[in-house]
């Protein structure tokens, strides 16, 4: 139902822009001839109480009113406006303002004047920044008015490099391939024994194997076996296996070789030693750990990684030990040198071969040089102090005396004899 004079509150009359009365509108939208309210100078915003209706006088008063309104606004803003030649640049995310105006007023000044000038400049700049900040959208957070800052626009260098994506583990690759997704498990599990909800793993977990005081011996097991120790060993193995897999994943991620693999990777260009090692490892990698593997006719059994020196047990056959000790003392006492016939003959043969070779060389060398200072052709059997003969007792050297085995012409210390 419209009020009698056709006015409906809240809408402005569209025809005359100068009519400030907001409630002076007409249902049909057409001008209400002659009765638009033009507010008098006293009531700048248009007031209902002031019943002064004036007919629209002309453009001049309208301009005056506009100017007056602007003046009022300017008065209000006078306190916070600052005039600058060049606009400041703002980065509100960082609460930063950059003033590009050249500071002409500050040159060649010093002392308190400079301070005052600087303070004035700072005040102006801060005022502009605050004006900008107060324009931001605000919200109320626990009785404080809070402005929402935008993202900082100035980019600054990072302090650490970009994080590298972690390479997938073996299981993750497989899961991705198969499309396996992890199933969400409940964090608490009902524990029958204690009749409460307990966590799935960790401190005071639901089904704790280690807390059992009774383990039944399973059907096919040895009755003397320690089941508790068996559980502990199984756990240790699982932990070790987990750790190994973790290290292998890391090694694969960093493309580093695990030391336990021992350099075995089939490249096609492997050395003799590598092939030998690979062959040994392959031999042992059977279900019976290499016990029933055949060997080539002249192949020696592998040395194995075990101890190289084996000692007799401390408490064993006392009679046999006594015998061997007495035998040893007898041999040491005897004046006659002990001789191993085969070794002696081998040694002699080797010496003869060497002599031949040396003679051949000196013959060639002598033809070229004549007498040289060094005599290379010295028969290595002579010289030295009794080291050239058949080996004495207890001599277990494989080669000859070091004078023979070493370089030609070297003497084991001492004077040279010609």
């Amino acid at each position: 139902m419209l009020p009698p004079d056709g006015r409906v509150p809240g809408r402005r009359c569209p025809e005359l822009p100068l009519c400030h009365r907001k409630d002076n509108f007409l249902a049909s939208g057409r001008a209400y001839a002659g009765l638009h309210v033009v507010p008098s100078a006293a009531c700048a915003g248009g007031c209902l109480s002031c019943g002064s209706l004036r007919v629209a006088m002309g453009v001049r008063s309208a301009e005056e009113l506009l100017a007056q309104a602007e003046q009022a606004e300017a008065e209000k803003l006078r306190l916070i406006t600052v005039h600058k030649d060049l606009e400041l640049e703002f980065d509100l995310g960082n609460l930063l303002a950059t003033d590009r105006n050249p500071p002409t007023g500050l040159r060649q000044r010093s002392g308190p004047e400079l301070e005052a000038q600087l303070q004035g400049l700072a005040r102006d700049n801060v005022q502009l920044l605050i004006n900008q900040l107060w324009r931001l959208p605000t919200e109320r957070v626990e009785e404080a008015v809070v402005a929402k800052l935008p993202e900082p626009s100035l980019r600054l260098p990072r302090e650490k490099p970009l994080p590298k994506p972690r390479p997938l583990t073996r299981w993750q690759q497989f899961a991705q391939l198969k499309g396996i997704r992890p199933r969400k498990k409940t964090s608490l599990v009902w524990d029958e024994a204690s009749k409460q909800w307990r966590r799935r793993w960790g401190y005071q977990r639901a089904r704790d194997d280690t807390k059992e005081w009774l383990i039944e011996v399973p059907g096919g097991a040895d009755p003397d076996e320690d089941q508790f120790a068996k559980r502990q060993r199984a756990k240790k193995e699982r932990v070790a296996k987990n750790e190994l897999n973790r290290l292998r994943n890391i090694a694969r991620a960093h493309k580093v070789q695990l030391p336990s693999q021992g350099g075995m990777h089939p490249t096609g260009y492997q050395s003799r030693a590598e092939l030998g090692k690979a062959m040994q490892v392959a031999k042992v990698s059977t279900a019976s750990v290499g016990r029933f593997q055949e060997r080539l006719p002249k192949e020696k059994p592998p040395r194995g990684p075990g101890r190289k020196r084996r000692f007799q047990p401390n408490v064993g056959d006392f009679a046999a030990e006594k015998q061997s000790q007495l035998e040893l003392i007898r041999v040491m006492n005897s004046k006659k040198p002990r001789m191993d016939v085969t070794r002696a003959t081998n040694k002699q043969m080797r010496e003869e071969d060497r002599e031949e070779a040396a003679k051949r060389k000196t013959a060639r060398g002598g033809n070229r040089k004549g007498h040289g200072g060094k005599r290379k052709g010295r028969p290595p059997g002579l010289g030295g102090k009794g080291k050239g003969g058949p080996p004495g007792p207890g001599n277990k050297r494989k080669g000859g005396p070091p004078g023979v085995g070493g370089k030609k012409g070297q003497r084991p210390g001492g004077k040279r004899r010609k």
Binding site: L79, A97, W134, K148, I250
Partner: protein
């Protein structure tokens, strides 16, 4: 996570948290600053470092003992400190006859020195010399750089970036309007840089935005630039690289031209222009008589077609 990639895994949750805090991340932590005295630091320099520590609390570490190093000659000891305390900004103060009241401001990337700028302090007024009220520690300051010198040379530009990095504080999404307490104002005039700190006083003005009055509060320094050690361009570029997650997403069918105008593309289906909805002009409206004739024409056309078929 990098600490799971280590051969020796952390055994406690605390150790794990410690490592997680220090590893590289997409959104980084607030940069910590370390304030170091050189072998021959005098009272002025010591006081300067103490004031800076007060400004930058809690994101700074003040080393109490003197460290006899020369940053411009040998950077290893600074890098070692940075690694141990996880600080990527530093200030090193020293004093000798050739370079009196020397202050080296610098930052690190990946625990190696990125930029270092040596500043000489000509005049210094400390926090405790100015007997005015101070603001609580940990407030985020406002930063203002005045003077066109900050854009002219590369040294000044890097200095500006370094100072912003140093004094910025944490990046926050909201800020309490009443909590804007102090402002650091840097003016570059005549080869000198004036660093002043003012406390903000908000006065009433006629409208919502308050009028600002300033009160000198904190350390004020007159600085001149001495030596610089700036990172090479590619190292700087590397340090500025954004991770993919933070890059602004490109919206399809929107383009911008050089004048700042945004253009959008709309893809439409084919339209029958005869049935287009336009402004209705009463004069062009079809009269009922015309409508009738149109109908008759259509009917006759249909009949014709049928006949032909």
């Amino acid at each position: 996570m990098a600490e799971l990639d280590r051969v020796v895994k952390p055994k406690t949750k605390r150790a794990k948290r410690f490592l997680e805090k220090r590893e590289p991340k997409v959104n980084e932590n607030v940069k910590n600053a370390m304030l170091i005295k050189g072998g021959n630091a005098n009272a002025t320099i010591t006081q300067v470092l103490r004031d800076m520590y007060a400004l930058k609390k809690p994101y700074s570490v003040l080393y109490k003992k003197k460290n006899i190093t020369r940053p411009f000659e040998d950077q290893t000891s600074l890098e070692f400190f940075s690694k141990k305390s996880d600080c990527s900004l530093f200030m090193f103060g020293s004093h000798n006859k050739k370079r009196p009241n020397n202050l080296i401001v610098g930052r690190m990337y990946d625990y190696h020195i990125l930029d270092m700028i040596e500043l000489g302090i000509e005049k210094f007024v400390s926090l405790k010399d100015i007997k005015n009220s101070k603001c609580p520690e940990g407030t985020k300051p406002m930063l203002i750089f005045a003077g066109d010198a900050f854009d002219i040379s590369e040294d000044y530009r890097r200095l500006k970036s370094l100072l912003i990095d140093f004094f910025r504080g944490p990046t926050v999404p909201n800020i309490r309007l009443a909590g804007l307490e102090y402002v650091l104002h840097f003016t570059a005039v005549d080869g000198k840089i004036y660093f002043r700190t003012y406390k903000l006083l908000l006065k009433k003005s006629g409208c919502r935005t308050p009028r600002i009055e300033l009160e000198e509060m904190g350390p004020s320094l007159d600085l001149i630039m001495r030596r610089t050690y700036l990172a090479s361009d590619d190292l700087y570029k590397l340090s500025m690289k954004l991770p993919k997650a933070l890059k602004p997403k490109k919206k399809k069918n929107i383009s911008h031209d050089t004048f700042g105008a945004t253009y959008g593309r709309i893809h439409m289906q084919k339209q029958d222009l005869s049935k287009l909805q336009t402004r209705k002009m009463k004069g062009l409206k079809k009269r009922p008589a015309e409508k009738l004739t149109n109908n008759q024409e259509n009917k006759s056309q249909k009949i014709k077609r049928r006949k032909i078929d």
